[in-house]
């Protein structure tokens, strides 16, 4: 094909026949193709537009609170709707701590499941276990919350906290009376909820590690475990990190199950036995009955903070993955 048909195509200057424009003009040559492209573009742009609108709405509605309380909103801890004094520090603290504690508990569990299922388990066991673990993700969070109140908390009170206190009771992290609803209960519920996400993605990542990696390690005289540790895990580290961040994102935003067991108290304490609060829980709890405009605005500001926090976490995750993933590690492209 030596001469191009001179079609008026939007955005593509005609008469410059590079490979790319020729490809695009071929694509755009048909009318239905052009319509199709516009529809796709519209749909694709709708999503970033949605995010920006969301941010805009949060910002506009939070403005009165931003003006009134200024940056002190971030580090003061009084939340008094009667006196109209608001500070979000306990919720920010509770959100971060409960999510990170949940990660601390969930990551070893989820990675163990993923490694077992890809490297060690007999073939007949893999699918059923994987299916059951992923089934955890299908349970509605209100069910987790109810289970937390009626099963987990009594269990913690009877069998977990007393021995924990007996051994580590001297640390500041286990001070105070354990009532049940607490940071600890919230973190454990969260951990259970994010395990399936981390496990499922990790399993996919490990499955994608080429067999040659394992064979090479085994050929060098490594044991199965050494092969996993020295060849498989490092190869998939970017993807694994992505899995963890996915779990973290889920933990930060989880609302229902957490609010049912965390105790909903606007307090900052180092003890995990004390009740705490999270931002998502506070918004869900208080939004419907927020009668004054300043109260509403303060809740919008909490939403804004949660939004920004999530963006920051995702940005950090992205940077970490780019750093780690230089080269050809599995999963880096997908993330």
């Amino acid at each position: 094909m030596t001469s191009l048909p001179n079609l008026p195509i939007e955005g593509i200057p005609s008469g410059r026949p590079s490979t790319e424009t020729r490809w695009q003009s071929l694509l755009g040559a048909d009318r239905s193709d052009r319509i199709y492209r516009r529809i796709l573009t519209g749909f694709a742009l709708a999503l970033p537009a949605l995010i920006l609108t969301l941010f805009g709405v949060l910002l506009v509605n939070a403005l009165p609170a931003l003006k009134r309380f200024g940056p002190a909103f971030l580090w003061t801890s009084t939340w008094d709707p009667v006196a109209e004094v608001y500070g979000a520090a306990p919720m920010i603290f509770g959100t971060m701590v409960s999510s990170f504690l949940a990660l601390l508990l969930a990551v070893p569990l989820a990675l163990s499941v993923a490694i077992l299922l890809t490297e060690f388990a007999p073939r007949w066991l893999r699918q059923p276990v994987a299916f059951l673990v992923e089934l955890l993700a299908a349970i509605p969070s209100v069910v987790y919350g109810t289970w937390g109140i009626f099963v987990l908390i009594p269990f913690l009170r009877a069998h977990v906290v007393p021995p924990l206190k007996a051994v580590f009771g001297w640390t500041p992290f286990l001070q105070g009376v354990f009532y049940g609803n607490s940071l600890l209960a919230g973190a454990i519920i969260l951990a259970i909820m994010i395990v399936p996400y981390i496990a499922a993605v990790s399993r996919e990542v490990l499955l994608a590690v080429p067999t040659s990696q394992r064979e090479a390690a085994l050929a060098m005289g490594a044991t199965r475990w050494e092969a996993v540790r020295s060849a498989v895990l490092p190869y998939g580290r970017a993807g694994l990190m992505g899995a963890v961040i996915l779990g973290l994102g889920r933990a930060l935003g989880e609302t229902m199950a957490v609010t049912m067991v965390i105790g909903n108290r606007h307090d900052i304490g180092v003890s995990v036995l004390q009740p705490a609060y999270t931002m998502a829980a506070a918004i869900a709890n208080e939004f419907s009955e927020a009668t004054t405009s300043m109260y509403l605005s303060a809740l919008f500001e909490v939403g804004l903070i949660l939004f920004v926090l999530t963006v920051i976490v995702n940005a950090i995750a992205r940077i970490l993955i780019w750093r780690v993933a230089r080269g050809t590690a599995v999963g880096s492209r997908a993330l």
Partner: protein, 352 residues
Amino acid sequence: MNRTTSLVLAAMLGAALPAAAQVTLNGAGATFPNIIYQNWMLSYNQAHPDVKLNYQSIGSGGGIRQFSDGTVDFGGTDAPMTDSAIAAINGNVLHIPTVLGAVVVAYNLPDVTQPVKLTPDVIADIFLGKVTKWNDARIASVNAGVTLPNQDIIVVHRSDGSGTSFVFTDYLSKVSPDWAQKVGKGASLNWPVGLGGRGNEGVSATVRQTPGAIGYTELGYAMINKMPFATIQNQAGKWIAPSLESVTAAAAGAMKDMGQNTDFRVSITNAQGAQAYPISSFTWLLIHKTYDDSAKGRALVQFVWWAENDGQGKATELGYAPLPKEFRALIQNRLKSIMSGGRAVWKGPSAE
């Protein structure tokens, strides 16, 4: 268009013609009266097919907001609108009480079988964190013959904004100057101590699961779930167990202070009357004083009047306390004052 289609269309239009007089009334607000409102609206619609009523239980705060924004025709609330909120809509609102509710103080003391008695100031001090043990002398002194355990009191309150919290703290503010000054009253509060449970079910679940816990829930909820609740000393000094009768008695007692021109934004907590249960409350419908659409205004007023008369009969079986009969004349006067285009939309039951 072929013949069949046009015939079908004509038939549909014909069927739609009588429906031109159909009135749809939308409301939103408090969750507490939702069960009886839905029941009323269904029954009313069966008797009056031309009036369709919808009510969404989104919470009192949301109800007030939507009513003020004009997105619904009427609102429902457990806490009356504040003066500033009323001023913001140029005073175009009437509060019409529909039924009564009450808040009970529920507790978890597995070894105590008789109902525990609590004085108002002790309840306030428990929720302030000043009384911390069940065998505190101030609790023991009014519970002769009951062996109270040497156990920590674990306070449980609502974490979500709620009319139940409003009623409860409105009561505490009246009986305890300390509470009024330190905490105040509201749907959401800065609680001095305790755990937050989400909804009546969250509070009651936490109370049941936690030995030594004390919390507050709606009366109807506590009755259905058979939770033990405290007998409370009322203003007259009598020990009153919460019941539908003692709640209605509170409204009758409070009416003595209300006067003929009341706007019904009256708190009936700590009411007078020997049989009055002190933590009782109205729940209100919010109705505009003037409606642009007179058909809507009339249909709404007729429905409300029906609810205040025939509707009251359903209250008890659904777990609500009916209004004292003495209220009807007052409410009738208020409903007669509702205008559309300079004319009253309703002239009273006799004019129908």
